[in-house]
């Protein structure tokens, strides 16, 4: 009788370092992966079905729940898609506040990424530091929006409220603190020889795979391609801000880590620019009574650059009070399915978690 060479190994559905549940079924020969298949179905919440029975404003309350670690880009995409459909022009100050919220969310999510990437390689101190520091950003969110994780702040028409008194100073003080902390992160993570050895040459994404798999965000930039929706297809006031889009040619986990290392610093710079240049004025354009608000028939797609890359919201209206279709596109929908299955071939079992984290795996984006 011929013996099977490959063994089936299940990784997940619980993982350290990624948010949500997802399983990867591996075929391994020794320590080497020869086949991989992403299996989802653990947290489908049918948001896209539920919104068909809710009006445009009720639907908005569900948007942030599409992605736990970074809910604000999803809210912003939905709000902007609805505004495109109903041709609503929002006040200038609201656009600046939206950028501030998006960048704070980016920082918060990047700090979580530090934790996840560290954990996936056994560097647990990184997570303790960065999750602790992330709390300072969540404090800012709490003060601005009333909530720490799901903010429901960026909604169709603008943002829900203006800055509380003294908020700008607190933001700047927090940025000063975090900027100093990033030096410690460099010492702990990026200059750590274990981190370097475990990430260099691992989880390689070749330029050919980029187009085939619709790769976006830091994974794209980590393979040497300069692309960022904030620059290429600017929204809100990103065209008025000065920031750098980092790239790295390596295509491996290390290259993507270096990209993210610069991005968190760029977010600090953007936040300071927003505080310095934000104009005075209203923060909200009045929209019709939600119970009577009808939006003309049509469709729109709004996309936002999140930490994982492009997230977008396709919204279609039939002219009624409820959406006909709301369809979310998350970066993980491609990164964590077809791309991950491809990238894992030939890798070592011990690197699976690190690769998943590096590709921005977020299962709630796959099954909404």
């Amino acid at each position: 009788m011929e013996r099977e060479k490959a063994t089936t190994l299940y990784i997940g559905p619980q993982h350290p370092g990624i948010t949500g549940n997802m399983m990867v079924r591996l075929k391994v020969e020794g320590d080497t992966i020869v086949g991989a298949r992403t299996e989802v179905g653990y947290l489908h919440r049918a948001f896209e079905k539920l919104v068909e029975r809710r009006n445009w404003v009720q639907s908005f309350t569900m948007m942030c729940r599409f992605c736990v670690p970074e809910p604000d880009p999803v809210e912003e995409s939905y709000a902007r898609a609805v505004e495109m459909l109903d041709k609503i022009e929002i006040p200038e100050r609201a656009k600046w506040i939206r950028v501030l919220v998006l960048e704070l969310a980016r920082m918060s999510s990047l700090l979580l990424w530090h934790a996840g990437q560290g954990h996936s390689l056994g560097l647990y101190t990184m997570g303790q530091w960065s999750v602790g520091d992330r709390n300072y950003i969540l404090d800012l969110f709490e003060e601005l929006t009333g909530a720490r994780i799901y903010h429901m702040f960026i909604w169709p028409g603008g943002v829900r409220r203006d800055f509380p008194e003294g908020f700008e100073d607190k933001v700047l003080r927090t940025m000063d603190y975090l900027e100093k902390r990033l030096e410690d992160y460099d010492n702990l993570l990026f200059e750590n020889s274990i981190f370097q050895k475990r990430t260099q040459g691992v989880g390689y994404v070749s330029p050919e795979k980029i187009i085939e798999h619709g790769v976006v965000g830091p994974v794209l930039r980590g393979s040497g391609i300069k692309s960022d929706i904030r620059i290429d297809d600017p929204y809100e006031v990103y065209d008025k801000l000065d920031f750098v889009v980092p790239t790295q040619p390596g295509g491996d986990i290390w290259a993507r880590a270096l990209v993210r290392r610069v991005e968190i610093r760029q977010s600090i710079s953007i936040i300071r620019q927003v505080i310095e240049n934000i104009p005075k004025g209203e923060v909200y354009t009045k929209v019709p009574n939600p119970q009577k608000w009808k939006i003309p028939r049509g469709d729109a797609y709004a996309r936002t650059e999140s930490v994982r890359g492009e997230v977008g919201m396709f919204v279609a209206s039939d002219g009624g009070r409820k959406p006909r279709r709301v369809h979310f596109r998350g970066a993980a929908y491609v990164h964590a399915v077809t791309l991950l299955e491809d990238v894992l071939i030939g890798q070592n079992i011990a690197d699976v978690s690190a690769i998943m984290n590096s590709l921005g795996t977020c299962p709630p984006e796959i099954e909404r």
Partner: protein
């Protein structure tokens, strides 16, 4: 911008039988409508010949009243920085689309989802039988005529004491043998 989008429409219409089009200059977007048979060749042409290399999204809208599904491919040209929405309509009763994951492998995931959620067949799609739903025997759940409430009642039992439309305060008070406090009575049904 409008001229550029018009040019794109003209170039595509020379090679394919374009049914209709719509330009949204403010969104840097042109919508192109085709018969479903032309979709694979249109997508391949846009990807290989016209720089629309990035597939941003693929979506389906259920137009129940019109008896059709609208299938939409959202493409982005990184150099020109414009969007094309390629749209088609397919019969709702017998929904079949050609498998196109040879153009963009990521379409494999979309097709698996739409097969499960809308019942659209993609002949030639190579993928495991199940994607999100497990051992699902009901109708495709994202179709607009899927009766959520009926499906739930037919397939899932209600826990005794937790029947629908009950007042939670009353139930808890009854269970513990206490009265509902006066301040809470106004909220009771």
């Amino acid at each position: 911008m409008e001229t550029l989008l018009e040019k794109i429409k003209d170039r595509v219409s020379v090679n394919f039988d374009l049914k209709d089009h719509k330009i949204y200059a403010d969104q840097k977007r042109v919508d192109l409508f085709f018969k479903k048979e032309h979709i694979p060749s249109v997508l391949l042409y846009l990807k290989e010949q016209m720089d629309f290399r990035h597939l941003m999204h693929m979506s389906v809208i259920d137009w129940l009243e019109e008896g059709e599904f609208e299938v939409i491919f959202l493409l982005w040209a990184p150099k020109e920085k414009i969007k094309v929405f390629v749209k088609t309509r397919i019969d709702r009763e017998n929904p079949v689309m050609e498998n196109m994951d040879n153009i963009w492998p990521q379409l494999n995931t979309y097709e698996r989802e739409f097969k499960e959620m809308y019942g659209i067949e993609f002949p030639g799609l190579v993928a495991p039988e199940e994607f999100i739903l497990e051992a699902w025997t009901g109708p495709p759940p994202m179709r607009r005529d899927f009766e959520t409430d009926k499906f739930a009642k037919d397939n899932f039992a209600t826990r005794p004491g937790r029947e629908d439309a009950q007042d939670v305060r009353e139930t808890i008070a009854k269970r513990s043998g206490e009265d509902i406090p006066d301040f809470a009575k106004k909220y009771s049904r």
